[in-house]
């Protein structure tokens, strides 16, 4: 089963320099934080979906659709209770939901899922090694960058081992079908022990394999894939930067794009 996010495609997004891509995604993140009006926020969400489509990574959005939809729904449902607005819409006892806070909730839901989608575009179009390389290029020390990318790699491996462990216990009579959700969760806890031991063993072997292949943290190394910022990378960064500046002007200078101006 393939649980890695990277999708081998040949699109303009894949070809971008990973350093530029990391910066670009940071700019996208900032754009997401500019507005809390659903219309403005929605425009940004649609644009991110558009970028995802042209990078041909919608498959990964689809794979994580439950998380994306959950974020959207939870954002929309939860926020209205915390953010108060002037126009009451509905009330029940002490709970009041206003028109503005409902809109605000929708915008927050969109914002959360947009942030995740922007991150997904980065992870789906950038190889682990390129990510490490770009983090180094952006001034992060190699051991830290390597630890980060190795951690990313370990997640699917451990998820696979976890699934096998659960199956092994279910065939020994572990009952995951009955009981309420908390009791069922409780039954999962002991399974962490074999998983933990597996992780220790795995990382030990990984360390041996790394050292056997000449890896030593803290020393310099070369990179097989060359990183090169092309004019296109700069163009995209300039465009995104200009968009961010415009967005900030709209929000701060003209007061547009916010249903609740006091909130982020």
């Amino acid at each position: 089963m393939n649980i890695f996010l990277y999708l081998e495609r040949r699109t303009w997004v894949h070809r971008l320099d990973p350093r530029g891509k990391v910066l670009g995604v940071l700019l996208l993140f900032s754009l997401c934080l500019c507005f809390n009006h659903p219309l403005y926020m929605g425009t940004i969400t649609l644009s991110i979906l558009g970028i995802g489509a042209s990078a041909r990574v919608l498959f990964n959005f689809w794979r994580l659709r439950f998380i994306l939809i959950l974020l959207l729904i939870f954002g929309t449902l939860m926020w209205p209770f915390f953010a108060k607005g002037p126009t009451p819409l509905w009330s029940w006892g002490p709970m009041v939901v206003s028109r503005e806070s409902l809109f605000y909730g929708i915008a927050m839901g969109l914002r959360l899922s947009s942030l995740v989608m922007a991150g997904l575009i980065l992870l789906s179009t950038t190889r682990n090694e390129e990510m490490t390389h770009s983090l180094i290029g952006l001034g992060i020390p190699y051991p830290v960058a390597f630890a980060f990318s190795t951690a990313l790699r370990l997640i699917p491996t451990l998820a696979g081992a976890g699934a096998t462990i659960i199956q092994a216990q279910v065939s020994r009579g572990l009952d995951l079908e009955s009981g309420n959700i908390f009791r069922r969760m409780g039954k999962f806890i002991p399974q962490a022990i074999p998983l933990f031991l597996y992780a220790i063993r795995y990382t030990n072997l990984l360390a041996i394999a790394l050292e056997s292949r000449g890896f030593s943290p803290g020393t310099k190394r070369t990179f097989y894939y060359e990183l090169k910022m092309t004019p296109k990378d700069y163009e995209i960064l300039v465009v995104l930067g200009a968009l961010l500046a415009a967005a900030l002007y709209l929000r701060l200078g003209m007061g547009l794009g916010a249903v609740l101006p006091g909130r982020l």
């Binding site: 393939n2 890695f4 990277y6 065939s171 995951l176 990382t203 190394r221 070369t222 097989y224």
Partner: protein
């Protein structure tokens, strides 16, 4: 010729261990030779491997005495990263060795660490990709490769460092027969190129082509010499827990002249000395046997596709398993063996067709009811062990199924007795050996007294003695009425213990019948990239009924 490796009185004990893993090792390896190391588990083979590139003593701390030289470099005085230019190390587990996102980058990782320029890295990748037959896979993700391809990639990613010496620690143990053949073919090519190779393996067949064979026992090298000499020393091999090659054992038992290492040699010896007459064996037809007992498992038109994947892992399986049978399920990785077996205990639900357990579809049972009837031991015992004591571990199934306490004690004691671990109740499972942990896992399934017992690759990673102990235990359980089904790569284990063999290929059943009958169909087996052991092939050529040395001796002596 000059020395590639010399080991001078090396003794090494891991921290917190009293008994040294290696004791007074004194030996050397000539440049360009192939050395194969055999020995029981825990003999110190892996420790020896890791002492050659400095993982011992740099990575593992412990008491280190003596010296190891690679050419004129003393290993203990150099960092592992420096030694990696001279000694390449390939491990048994391929998963942790592959951490890059494609084949090319995996191979580039070592040279990148050596700070080689891009052009040189490219040259090396272009040299070794075709050498290992991986050109067409250069952009593939390592996780998506087959076992043999993965291990070949692990080898190539070490070769790009261009070390003079290559050390492989059980490189084929986790592989299916085809993967094993792929890796051994690479080893032969490296041998032809006059590289210095040290290979640890559990199968003496690997040692046949070696220049030198070392036998290890309890941290010492107990014997060394050319393969012809070492492999025919039956008591010596047995003392080290190494399987005796079947053909040699046969010739010695029969008192025939010569000690053949492969089948052609054996056949020409037999013809030359006119040792045996060709019998007229007609292997029994599948319908003639296996009709005893009631049908306990019935598979009808079973099709299964993993969710999210279009490809069908099982494409129309029909079979019947009767009470008291001993069945071996064999085939390459990815042929659907494990997928099929997981339907027997309801872990997977059919996409089409059905699986009837005692006449009722598995989908109509609750999972717990199925667990009572069908015990399933997973390949890696460490995937299920999690309790602090052996007692709790074995009792876990009974507890979750809600059995009362008094009968629980009896059941646990009984299960431990069956697996030969009486008195182990209070021990900590994690501190036991792999063979013992495997048995704890079997006991924990047995305690529930399932009627059917399924074991996925029960002998992988066990040495000869542990394998034999486990398989004899399964045989006695079978004799007491349990239906036993094993999934295995080992044609020898299947030949010796299973009465019936089911051979799978690409999600279908290729052959299903008495093991003797199935193993006589060498051409059909070849379609599934399988071939029986040299002894069984000899038995096929001679037209005897035997599948083991013992049977063959009885049959030939009449």
């Amino acid at each position: 010729m000059s020395k590639a490796i010399s080991i001078e009185d090396l003794t090494y004990a891991y921290r917190s261990q009293e008994i040294p893993a290696l004791q007074h090792i004194q030996n050397e390896i000539q440049e360009g030779s192939l050395v194969v190391v055999l020995g029981h588990s825990g003999a110190g083979k892996s420790t020896l491997c890791t002492s050659l590139n400095g993982i011992v003593p740099h990575f593992f701390r412990g008491r280190y005495q003596g010296r190891v030289f690679i050419k004129d470099l003393e290993v203990a005085r150099h960092k592992v990263a420096e030694m990696s230019r001279h000694v390449g190390l390939v491990l048994q587990d391929f998963e942790p060795q592959l951490f890059s996102t494609n084949v090319e980058l995996e191979m580039a990782f070592g040279p990148e660490n050596l700070r080689l320029p891009r052009g040189e890295i490219k040259r090396r990748i272009e040299t070794y990709l075709p050498f290992l037959g991986l050109e067409h896979l250069r952009r593939r993700e390592p996780a998506s490769l087959s076992g043999g391809q993965k291990q070949r990639l692990a080898i190539s990613s070490v070769l790009t460092l261009e070390p003079e010496i290559l050390v492989m620690d059980e490189p084929t143990t986790d592989l299916d027969p085809r993967g094993r053949e792929e890796v051994l073919a690479i080893a032969r090519r490296l041998q032809e190129e006059k590289r210095t190779l040290l290979i640890v393996d559990s199968d003496p067949e690997t040692a046949v082509r070696a220049d030198q064979v070392w036998l290890m026992r309890e941290g010492r090298i107990s014997a060394q010499g050319p393969p012809g000499e070492i492999l025919s020393d039956i008591p010596g091999l047995q003392a080290c827990g190494v399987k005796v090659p079947g053909l040699i054992e046969l010739f010695v038992e029969m008192g025939w002249p010569g000690k053949p290492l492969d089948i052609n040699e054996a056949v020409s010896l037999i013809e030359k000395h006119d040792l045996a007459q060709k019998g007229g064996l007609h292997p029994p037809k599948p319908s003639e046997s296996g009709m005893k007992g009631n049908c306990i498992l019935r598979v009808e038109g079973l099709v299964y596709a993993y969710p999210g994947y279009g490809l069908e892992a099982l494409r129309g399986i029909n079979l019947e398993i009767r009470e008291g049978e001993f069945v071996a399920l064999i085939g390459q990785n990815g042929s659907g063996k494990t997928t099929l077996a997981k339907h027997f205990n309801g872990l997977l639900k059919p996409s089409a067709g059905r699986v009837l357990l005692k006449g009722r579809a598995t989908t109509e049972y609750k999972q717990q009811q199925v667990s009572r009837l069908v015990g399933y031991v997973f390949q890696n015992p460490d995937h299920q062990i999690f309790c602090n004591t052996v007692y709790d571990e074995v009792a876990f199934g009974l507890k979750t199924l809600g059995d009362p306490l008094p009968s629980m004690n009896v059941r646990v004691a009984e299960a431990l007795e069956t697996v030969g671990l009486m008195g182990y109740e209070k021990k900590v499972p994690f501190a036991l050996s792999k063979g013992e942990r495997q048995r704890v896992a079997v006991a924990s399934v047995l305690a529930v007294r399932p009627e059917i017992l399924i074991l996925d690759e029960p002998t992988t990673g066990l040495d000869e003695k542990q394998q034999r102990a486990l398989m004899e235990m399964l045989r006695s359980l079978n004799a007491r009425g349990h239906t036993v089904l094993i999934i295995t790569h080992s044609m020898e284990v299947a030949a010796e213990y299973a009465a019936r063999a089911i051979v799978m290929k690409d999600g279908r059943v290729l052959l299903d019948g008495p093991t003797r009958w199935a193993f006589a169909q060498e051409d059909r087996l070849k379609e599934a990239s399988l071939h029986p052991s040299p002894l069984v092939r000899l038995s096929n050529r001679l037209g005897t009924r035997a599948l083991t040395v013992k049977q063959m001796v009885e049959e030939l002596k009449g």
